[in-house]
C-alpha cells in the first residue's frame, strides 16, 4: 500500500506525511516515508511517499494506491503511477480533475477545515479522510495532535480530522485493506535524527557545522539537546572553521563531529589532512547530494565516494563507513566514534539525502550495545616526558590530553614532527613518522565488517551495492528471484579500508556481476577493481538525483541479458 502526498513547498506536506506515518506506526504497521523536495521555500512541486506493509518496507514503491493531491500539478505528475483502483483525495474548490478521471474523491478540505476553526487545518481534514479510506480510527491521531500541539490547537485540529474522516466514512469507508499490524513496539525515525541520536549516545560532546542540506537535520537534532545534555553545538562561520573547531575540541578531549554535504566537505579537506597529520580523532558525516558545485541541493546520489576516499593532501589513514539502512546506521556511527578514538584518525560516514530524509518504523535500539571507550593514556603508565607521537609497534601512540597530567604538555603538529611533536626536516625521521601513521591501517583493516550477503555462494547473478541502496537492491533481488533467477546480493557498509575476503570468495562463482550505484561513473566498481582486480560485468547507474526504484534495477538487469 503506497500513499503519495504532493503539493507546493509551504503547503504542509510534511505535516500530513508525519501525522499519517506516525499514526500508522502506532497502529502497529510497518511504514516507510521518503521525501522528494525542491530547493525552495514556497511553491514548486514537492511530495512524500508513504508505504505501508506488515513488516517495515525496505524502499519506496513507484505504484501508488492513494494520491493526496494538494494541487493540480501533483495530479498530472503522478496520475500515471496511480493504480486503476486507486483513489485521489483532492479539494474540488482548488483542484479540478479532468472529467474522465474516475478515481477522484473530492473533499472540501478547506471548507471543512474552516468549519472546524480555520482553513489552515485543511491538512488535518486530509489525514482524517485518508484514515477513513484505510479503515482506521481517528483516536490515535488525535492523541498525537495533543502530544504535538497546545490543547486548543490540538482540539480544533482533532475536529478537522474527524470532519475529513466522517466525510469519507459516509461513502468510502475502508476502501483499502491493510495487512495485519505487527505486535512489537516500533519507533518511527528519520536518518538525520537517528545519526544525531546515536552520536549523542556515543558520547559526542561537540558538533561544529555550517548549515548545508541534506546534513542540517543532524545539527538541529543535537542543537535541541543542548538544554539537557552534555553537548555543545556551534554554527561555524564556514566549513573550514567547522572542521578546525572540531579538531581543537577533539584534541582537548571531546568526542567531536562535523556534518556537511559535498561542497562543504570540499572546504574541509585541508582540515581532514590536518586530522591525519596531528592524529586527532574526528567523525565527519558527509550527506551526499548531486554535484558538481551546488548541483541539486535537495536531491540524492552516491557520487562523492572517490572524493572522500582520496580527499586531503598527503597520505594518512582514514576510515570511510556508510550504512546499509537506518538501524545499521545507529550502530555504525558508534563504530565511527570508536574507530576515530582508537586509531586517532578521521572517520568519514557517508550518508545521502535519501538516507537522511527517509523515515521508517524500526524496533527500538539497544543502547547497551553502544561503546564509549576513550583509549586514553592511563595515569600509571605515563613515562615522563610525555611524547604525543611515540613510536609503537602498531603505530598508535598513547594519547594524553592537554592538562591531563600535571607537568606534562601535549604538542600536536601540522608539520612533520618527531615523537615530541616538534618540527623536523630530517629524511629518516620523516620516513619513520610516515610509516608510523600508515601502520595503523593494518589493525584498522581488520576492524572493517565484511559486506552483508543475501543469497547463496553461487548462482546466476551477483548484485553488488553499497550504502543506502541496500533496501531497494533487496527488493530488486526478491523480484528477480521471483522470476527464477538465482541472485545473491552483496552489500558493503564499511568502505575503507575495503574488506575484500567475501567478494574474493564469491566473485568468480557468478556468471554475471552487476554493481548498482547512484553515480555516473561506477565509483565503487572502480574501487573494487583497484583493490581486488575484479571487473564487474555491468553497471546500473542512476544520477538524476533520485533514489533507485526496485523495478528499474530489475529491468536493467534483464535487458542486459
Amino acid at each position: 500500500m503506497n500513499i503519495l502526498i504532493g503539493g507546493a513547498a509551504g503547503q504542509g506536506l510534511d505535516t500530513i506525511a508525519h501525522l499519517l506515518g506516525k499514526s500508522l506506526q502506532r497502529f502497529g504497521f510497518g511504514v516507510l516515508t521518503s521525501k522528494d523536495y525542491m530547493s525552495r521555500v514556497r511553491g514548486g512541486h514537492n511530495f512524500s511517499c508513504l508505504r505501508i506493509e506488515q513488516e517495515t518496507p525496505w524502499a519506496s514503491a513507484q505504484e501508488i494506491q492513494l494520491l493526496i493531491a494538494l494541487n493540480e500539478e501533483t495530479y498530472s505528475l503522478h496520475k500515471g503511477n496511480l493504480t486503476p483502483q486507486g483513489r485521489i483525495i483532492f479539494d474540488p474548490d482548488h483542484v479540478s480533475l479532468p472529467n474522465e478521471e474516475k478515481r477522484g474523491l473530492p473533499i472540501a478540505l478547506r471548507e471543512l477545515a474552516k468549519e472546524a476553526g480555520a482553513a489552515i487545518m485543511a491538512n488535518s481534514v486530509a489525514v482524517g479522510a485518508a484514515l477513513a479510506l484505510l479503515g482506521l480510527t481517528t483516536n490515535v491521531t488525535e492523541q498525537l495532535l495533543h502530544e504535538v500541539f497546545a490543547q486548543k490547537i490540538a482540539t480544533s485540529n482533532g475536529k478537522a480530522l474527524r470532519a475529513g474522516y466522517d466525510e469519507v466514512a459516509k461513502t468510502n469507508h475502508t476502501y483499502f485493506t491493510l495487512p495485519a499490524p505487527m505486535e512489537k513496539k516500533q519507533i518511527f525515525i528519520d536518518g538525520n535524527s537517528l545519526l544525531g541520536m546515536s552520536a549523542l549516545a556515543s558520547g559526542c560532546r561537540f558538533l561544529s557545522a555550517y548549515p548545508m542540506t541534506p546534513a542540517t537535520g543532524i545539527m538541529t537534532y543535537l542543537a535541541a539537546k543542548q538544554e539537557n545534555h552534555d553537548v555543545v553545538v556551534e554554527q561555524a562561520e564556514d566549513e573550514i572553521a567547522a572542521i578546525n573547531m572540531a579538531l581543537g575540541a577533539s584534541y582537548t578531549g571531546a568526542r567531536a563531529m562535523t556534518c556537511t554535504s559535498g561542497g562543504g566537505f570540499a572546504l574541509m579537506t585541508e582540515g581532514l589532512s590536518l586530522a591525519g597529520m596531528t592524529e586527532t580523532p574526528l567523525v565527519i558525516v558527509v550527506a551526499m547530494r548531486p554535484g558538481p558545485a551546488t548541483g541539486l541541493p535537495t536531491r540524492t546520489g552516491q557520487a562523492d565516494l572517490e572524493f572522500v576516499l582520496h580527499a586531503g593532501h598527503g597520505e594518512f589513514p582514514r576510515a570511510v563507513l556508510s550504512a546499509t539502512h537506518l538501524e545499521d546506521a545507529f550502530y555504525r556511527i558508534n563504530k565511527a566514534f570508536e574507530l576515530a578514538d582508537k586509531y586517532q584518525i578521521p572517520v568519514i560516514f557517508l550518508s545521502d539525502q535519501d538516507f537522511a530524509d527517509t523515515v521508517r518504523t524500526l524496533p527500538p535500539f539497544d543502547f547497551t550495545l553502544l561503546q564509549h571507550n576513550r583509549y586514553l593514556l592511563d595515569d600509571d603508565v605515563l613515562t615522563s616526558p610525555y611524547q604525543r607521537y611515540l613510536f609503537t609497534d602498531d603505530g598508535i601512540s598513547p594519547r594524553a590530553l592537554p592538562g591531563q597530567f600535571a607537568g606534562e604538555v601535549v604538542l600536536a603538529d601540522s608539520d612533520e614532527h618527531d615523537e615530541d611533536g616538534h618540527i623536523i626536516e630530517d629524511a629518516e625521521a620523516r620516513a619513520r613518522m610516515s610509516e608510523k601513521r600508515q601502520k595503523k591501517l593494518v589493525a584498522l583493516a581488520a576492524e572493517m565488517s565484511e559486506p552483508e550477503v543475501d543469497g547463496a555462494d553461487e548462482g546466476d547473478l551477483l548484485l553488488i551495492g553499497w550504502g543506502s541502496t541496500y533496501g531497494v537492491i533487496k527488493e530488486a533481488t526478491h523480484a528477480l528471484r521471483a522470476q527464477g533467477q538465482r541472485v545473491t546480493h552483496v552489500h558493503f557498509a564499511d568502505l575503507w579500508p575495503l574488506p575484500t575476503a567475501t567478494i574474493n570468495k564469491l566473485f568468480s562463482h557468478f556468471p554475471h556481476s552487476v554493481c548498482v550505484e547512484g553515480n555516473a561513473t561506477g565509483q565503487f566498481a572502480k574501487l573494487l577493481r583497484r583493490e581486488t582486480g575484479h571487473l564487474v560485468d555491468q553497471l546500473i547507474l542512476k544520477y538524476d538525483g533520485r533514489p533507485f526504484w526496485a523495478n528499474e534495477i530489475v529491468k536493467e538487469v534483464i535487458n542486459y541479458d
Partner: protein, 284 residues
C-alpha cells in the same frame, strides 16, 4: 611556580635579530609571573614564522594550519574550559588567510588571549606583502608596490565588538609583557597586535622606523569606544601603543548550559551510552 626560563625550549629557527624573540620572552615572563603551569596553558597557532611559537615555549600546543589558529582554540576552549587558551600567529595568518575566523571569533567573545606578531610581511614564504603591509612596499609579487590600504586589525576588532584591544611593539619588552599579562587575565577575547620587525624581509618597517614612531598616549580612556577607534586609526608619523579599549561582556561559554555551570571539562565528563536510551522515546 615555573620560572620564565623554564618555558623556553631549545633553539628556534628564527633569524638573528628577529622581533619574534622578544615576544617569546615576554610571553614566557608573563606566564611565569602569573603563575600558569605549562600543562594549564594551551597555545594554538597557524603556519608562519610567528606560528612556530608553540614549539619554542613549553606549554600544550596545537600548531595547526595556515590561517586556522582561532577555530581550534575555540573548540579547545569549549572542550576544556579550565585551560588558559592563547592564540599566537602572524599577520598574514591571522588577517589574511584567517580573516573570516578573525572577525567571527571576536563576535563570540571567547576567553582567548590573542597575540599577533605583526611584521607587516609574509616572513616564512620570503617576503610577499601581508594585509598589514604599508602602501608602496615593493616585493617580488607586489612589483609596483602595495596598492591596498593596510588592514587595520584594531579598528576591525572594535567593530566586531572586541572587549580588549591593545597595540604593542616588540622593541618595548616590559610594556609588552605587562600588556600580555592583562590580556591573559581579561575575561573574554583580548587582542594584542604586536609590531614586530622582520629584518630579513621587511626593509621598510625596521626597528628604527618603529622606534621613531611609537609613543604612549598620555592617558587612554579605555571605556570609550570612539576614542579607541580614533587611536586605532593613528598610523604613520605617530603610532600609539597601549591598551586602547577594555570593557567586559558576557563570554562565549556563559551562553551554553553544558558549559556555564563550570563543572569538569566537557570533553572528559564520565558517561555511559545506555543512560541515554530514553532519547528514542520521542520517536515512539
Amino acid at each position: 611556580m615555573t620560572k620564565a626560563q623554564e618555558y623556553l625550549t631549545s633553539e628556534t629557527a628564527w633569524c638573528p635579530g628577529c622581533g619574534n624573540f622578544a615576544i617569546r620572552d615576554a610571553v614566557a615572563a608573563a606566564l611565569a609571573e602569573l603563575d600558569f603551569a605549562p600543562h594549564q596553558v594551551l597555545m594554538c597557532s597557524g603556519i608562519g614564522q610567528a606560528a612556530k611559537m608553540p614549539h619554542y615555549l613549553r606549554v600544550n600546543g596545537f600548531n595547526g594550519l595556515h590561517g586556522r589558529a582561532l577555530p581550534p582554540a575555540l573548540g579547545a576552549r569549549i572542550a576544556n574550559s579550565s585551560l588558559k587558551v592563547i592564540v599566537e600567529s602572524g599577520d598574514g595568518d591571522t588577517y589574511g588567510e584567517g580573516g573570516n575566523h578573525f572577525i567571527h571569533t571576536i563576535r563570540r567573545n571567547p576567553d582567548i588571549a590573542h597575540f599577533v606578531h605583526n611584521n607587516q610581511v609574509y616572513g616564512l614564504t620570503k617576503g610577499q606583502a601581508s594585509p598589514t603591509s604599508d602602501e608602496g612596499m615593493k616585493t617580488n609579487v607586489q612589483t609596483f608596490g602595495v596598492t591596498l590600504p593596510p588592514f587595520n586589525p584594531l579598528a576591525t576588532a572594535l567593530v566586531m565588538g572586541a572587549g580588549f584591544i591593545a597595540r604593542c611593539y616588540s622593541g618595548e619588552k616590559e610594556h609588552l609583557k605587562e600588556t600580555i599579562k592583562k590580556a591573559l587575565l581579561f575575561p573574554g577575547y583580548a587582542l594584542v597586535d604586536i609590531l614586530q620587525p622582520c629584518p630579513s624581509f621587511n626593509k621598510l618597517n625596521t626597528y628604527a622606523w618603529y622606534k621613531e614612531r611609537v609613543y604612549h598616549p598620555a592617558s587612554i580612556d579605555t571605556d570609550n569606544w570612539q576614542a579607541a577607534m580614533a587611536l586605532s586609526q593613528e598610523w604613520g608619523q605617530k603610532i600609539p601603543l597601549g591598551i586602547f579599549y577594555q570593557v567586559e561582556h558576557p563570554t562565549f561559554i556563559s551562553h551554553f548550559p553544558a558549559l556555564a555551570a563550570q563543572e569538569s571539562p566537557l570533553g572528559t565528563r564520565s558517561f555511559e551510552p545506555h543512560t541515554l536510551a530514553h532519547l528514542q522515546e520521542e520517536f515512539s
